[in-house]
Amino acid sequence: MTDQMQQLYQQVILDHSRARTGNAALLREAAAGAHGYSHQVNPTCGDEIELETELETGGGLSVRWTGDGCSISMASASVLAELAAESTAERMLEIEAKFHELMHSRGTMEADEEILGDAAAFTGVSKFPARIKCALLAWMAFKDALSQAQSSLEEK
């Protein structure tokens, strides 16, 4: 087993891929607050995620998702949901931007753990070009769902 493999499959990732935060039936129309939904597919490997986010009145937000995919994509969704529970929408977009940058760094960037929290564990993924999409899948769904939630909030 190579070093790179250990970096790719950090224990945090393996743990999240099994005990998945936010992995729950979607509410869809039943959702109370401002609400957005996104369905993302990685056509390369068939990984799929359905994710919804709800904006709470206090500025907080929650994320629920279901999906089918590799440990990287599932762990990434789980970490995202965990971070969302502790953050504002604004903060999440900041994390998303950092995470996106980290993933495209080809292993040349140090992860900013302060901002990224558990998402820092994905640093090793950036050395595996074919896996970057896996790590980003949930985040793409989140960005999409969030912008819907935000515009539905504005409409109200």
Binding site: L8, Y9, L14, D47
Partner: protein, 422 residues
């Protein structure tokens, strides 16, 4: 013989990290022997020119190489050289047939194309194990003509379910398109039975021969199919080249889809007349260097003998299947006896992508995902699988390395049997 032959493939000496390479992804694309690689050098250094259009010596040499490629294909799969049309890949070949029928169904292509016309009330039949390349074009055709798309289901053993063959392929069936060999399951389909039914109802037979031509002796006229498609890159040949094979009278009356230079006789500003096959399907500058390289590849395959290739791969697939059976938590998709060396499986508790990643870290190259066969995966209750597939350059050592690594996958990801079962 097969042990020696491995040395002809320079890429097999590559190391993946610290491990030697065990390439078990030939179902996706094959590696190339040195002689095929050398043909590119030779072609571009000695006889590169545009074919069919010039009197100069280079053009004559290029044209000869190009036409000799057709002879090589006809020698391999039967029929005359004019029955061999060059395409960019098998996908284009299948599309040429589907889109040609589409044009014929719109009244384009003159009277001689009328025999292909489809409409509401007609049906097109495929199978549940098709590669998307032999499914999506027929969906598109059904949609644009109003014909109905039906399919033969697949059994748990990964074979075509022929129980209702007579009901599914019926008097309304105008096209019956199916794969010779499943690229996921490795199953070899009973072409004779399927063709016999097609003949009873007068349906055109389109054979996807992508996974058969590289791995076993195939004779299209003997199989009595109307059209067949395969790709060079899976048969030791280069990327960028495929073959559409067809009956001459059908090829000559099927409306061409891509139009332009080198496929016409007379062009005015208002209209154009098309050449007969194969040229009518070869618009624009063709993959000439690729044809030359493919001819070399076919010469190599002929020398080895495709019957021997099939035997060799059957030995290897035995080793793979027996070895996998001893590893806990692995479910092989399909169990057909009549098969080539492709094995797709599901690892309990570990996603295919992770399986592939781990095997790669051990130098074992396999394919993961849906292998362009989403409906078939759905049939087996998964969205993705891992596939090991062999070719003539693989040996028992490759299989052993694969099996050793595969046994380590679930422990590496910390999956216990209890967990996986849940």
């Amino acid at each position: 013989m097969f042990a020696r032959l491995r040395n002809d493939f320079p890429i097999l000496d590559t190391r993946i990290g610290e491990s030697p390479l065990s390439y078990l992804d030939s179902g996706a694309t094959s590696q190339k022997p040195q002689c095929v690689i050398d043909t590119f050098t030779e072609y571009y250094s000695q006889r590169n020119a545009a074919v069919h259009r010039g009197a100069h010596s280079l053009a004559v040499m290029a044209t000869e190489a190009f036409e000799a490629g057709r002879d090589a294909v006809a020698n391999l799969v039967g029929g005359a050289p004019e029955q061999v049309c060059w395409t960019k890949n098998a996908t284009e070949a299948l599309n040429i047939v589907a889109l040609g029928i589409d044009r014929a169904s719109r009244g384009l292509g003159g009277d001689e194309a009328a025999r292909f016309a489809l409409g509401p009330g007609d049906s097109i039949v495929v199978t549940e194990m098709e590669h998307h390349a032999n499914l999506v074009p027929w969906q598109q055709l059904a949609r644009s003509t109003g014909a109905r798309l039906r399919w033969l289901p697949v059994t748990d053993s990964g074979e075509l379910d022929l129980t209702d063959l007579g009901g599914i392929v019926d008097a309304t069936t105008k096209v019956f398109a199916f794969t010779h060999v499943s690229n996921v399951l490795g199953t070899i389909n009973p072409v004779e039975t399927l063709v016999a039914r097609a003949r009873e109802v007068g349906a055109l037979v389109v054979l996807d021969a992508c996974q058969s031509v590289p791995h076993m002796p195939v004779d299209f006229p003997a199989l009595d199919v109307d059209f067949a498609a395969f790709s060079a890159h899976k048969a030791l040949g280069p990327t960028g080249l495929g073959v559409l094979w067809g009956r001459t009278e059908l090829l000559d009356s099927l409306p061409p889809v891509l139009t332009g230079g080198s496929m016409i006789t007379t062009v005015t500003m208002d209209e154009a007349e098309f050449m007969p096959a194969p040229q009518r399907f070869e618009a624009g500058t063709q993959p000439v260097a690729e044809v030359a390289a493919f001819a070399t590849a076919l010469g190599y395959l002929a020398e080895v003998g495709l019957d021997k290739v099939l035997d060799h791969e059957r030995e290897l697939v035995r080793v793979l299947l027996d070895g996998i059976a001893e590893i806990p938590g692995i479910r092989v998709l399909g169990s057909a006896e009549n098969r080539i060396g492709a094995v797709a499986f599901d690892v309990a508790g570990v996603h295919a992508h992770d399986v592939g990643q781990y095997l790669d870290s051990q130098g074992v190259a396999v394919r993961v995902g849906h292998h362009c066969a989403q409906p078939l995966h759905r049939r087996f209750g998964v969205t993705a699988s891992t596939r090991a597939s062999t070719y003539l350059y693989n040996d028992v050592e490759d299989c052993r390395r694969f099996l050793t690594a595969l046994a380590e996958v679930r422990p590496f990801f910390g999956v216990t049997d209890a967990e996986a079962a849940s």
